[in-house]
């Protein structure tokens, strides 16, 4: 070891000690955060242990699934899928023009930009369950309010991600197209859309996947589909029917996920 290296090592030793102290502080902070969250949620692990027997009882009563009732589940299943399809397509139709207005690089004016960002933010910040309750009030029970709720709530996520995709696209081909004399709408359909279509499709499929799961929950507030049937079966203590619906749900979610992954892989 050379004399010249010693001060450097001493300095490094100090910074090493500081770094260790900082890590300990961060670790302590993390522990405190976890503890406060456990207090706020009133976590009682002992209840979970004592209540496990009740859960096991329900599971025992749900087995085997009631396959005799399989003929009854086709319609609610179709409803659930169609709520997700309607919600996703409706969301895309509303989100796309908003995203164009909300994308910094193509928006026609700052006024439109802020208005579109505001609407997208509003759609996202109100939970889909609240939208569903609002639409149930407006159009009554059934799958329609659920589909509307998903469409409006989807605008929040789709609008934001679409806008970000447009903002990050390569602008040189768009400028080149503009210089050929193409009009604004032509530039959009011939330049912007083809450039971002794979990303938009991927985002849309991901949203469909989410909407499919959300449509199950929306059924709990009267928006039809499997969710509604699942709640009814639980209220009537028909646990074997509940397990049948859960199996169908599992298959649906898995199928949507696989389909979405396959299409996205092909588009990549």
């Amino acid at each position: 070891m050379t004399a010249a290296a010693e001060p450097h090592l001493i300095e490094r030793g100090w910074s090493g000690a500081l770094s260790l102290a900082l890590r300990l502080v961060l670790l302590l902070a993390l522990v405190l955060i976890v503890l406060q969250s456990a207090i706020v949620v009133q976590a009682r692990p002992q209840d979970l242990i004592t209540g496990a027997k009740g859960m096991a009882d329900i599971i025992r009563r749900a087995i085997p699934p009631d396959f005799a009732e399989i003929g009854k589940i086709w319609w609610p299943t179709l409803e659930t899928v169609d709520i997700a399809i309607f919600g996703t397509i409706g969301g895309v139709i509303m989100a796309l023009p908003l995203a164009v207005l909300a994308a910094d690089n193509v928006t026609p004016s700052r006024l439109f930009y802020y208005a579109a960002r505001g609407l997208i933010g509003l759609a996202r910040s109100v939970p889909d369950l609240v939208w569903a309750l609002l639409f149930v009030t407006a159009v009554g029970l059934g799958p329609f309010p659920g589909a509307l709720a998903l469409a409006v709530h989807s605008v929040g996520m789709l609008g934001r991600l679409f806008a970000e995709t447009i903002e990050h696209m390569e602008m040189a081909p768009i400028d080149a197209l503009a210089l050929t004399g193409a009009r604004r709408l032509q530039i959009f359909t011939h330049g912007v859309i083809p450039s971002v279509l794979p990303s938009l499709t991927g985002i849309t499929l991901y949203r469909f996947d989410e909407n499919l799961r959300s449509s199950l929950v929306l059924g709990f507030v009267g928006a039809g589909g499997i969710g509604f049937e699942l709640l009814s079966a639980m209220n009537l203590f028909q646990y074997r029917l509940v397990s049948l619906y859960l199996i169908v749900t599992f298959i649906l979610v898995l199928a949507a996920e696989r389909l979405s992954a396959l299409v996205r892989a092909r588009l990549a």
Partner: protein
Amino acid sequence: MLRVCDLTMRYPNRKLALAGFSLTVGAGDLVVVLGGNGSGKTTLLRCVTRMLDPTSGEIWLGDTDLAALSGERLRQARLPLAMIWQQANLVRRRSALANVASGALGRHAGWWTALGGFPPEELRAAYDHLGAVGLAQFAGQRAGTLSGGQAQRVAIARALAQRPQVLLADEPVASLDPEAAHDIMRLLRRLAAEQKLAVLCVLHQVELAYEYADRIVGIRAGRMAFDLPCGEVPRDMVRQLYLNEAA
């Protein structure tokens, strides 16, 4: 065909990029602009297209002064002016044919083109333009899968679809290998001669300028250094353009 008169461009940071620059490019001429980095070559082309607004001066395209126009009137007046860049700037996920046909969009205002389609006659014409640049067999191929040289040829075909009278080229061979660079320059030379295009091309490769240009224009610190027929440009004069940059 293209006449630039007393063009001056001062950027908002007060940097003078062009100072009273004047230039004429006639039909069938291939004029190459040479100059060091930051000499004002690209600013010149950007002012001519009005991607940048010049501080003063005139840009005559035929009988129209582009510098005096804006908005829809500028878009209309600029239609006979096409441009190619260092990168081809194609829409990568569209076919070569669609990219070429998009050069014709400025002439069509119908709902079909607004929805992403092309008139059949423009698709046929685009196929012919691809043939003119030797790429008809790649018509259906995605632009993103073409080589740099092929993509630049498609960009030239797109410019032809615009039915231009003037073609501006901003370092069109800068990112190409030497063979592809010669191919592109030969193509520009041929188009100028056969289609009576006025071609104004910014280059860094002095040898290419000597080989293909009708005239060479030297630019230094935003000012015209010389404007001479190719055969009359001494090598020393060209070297001076770059020596000044190094100093």
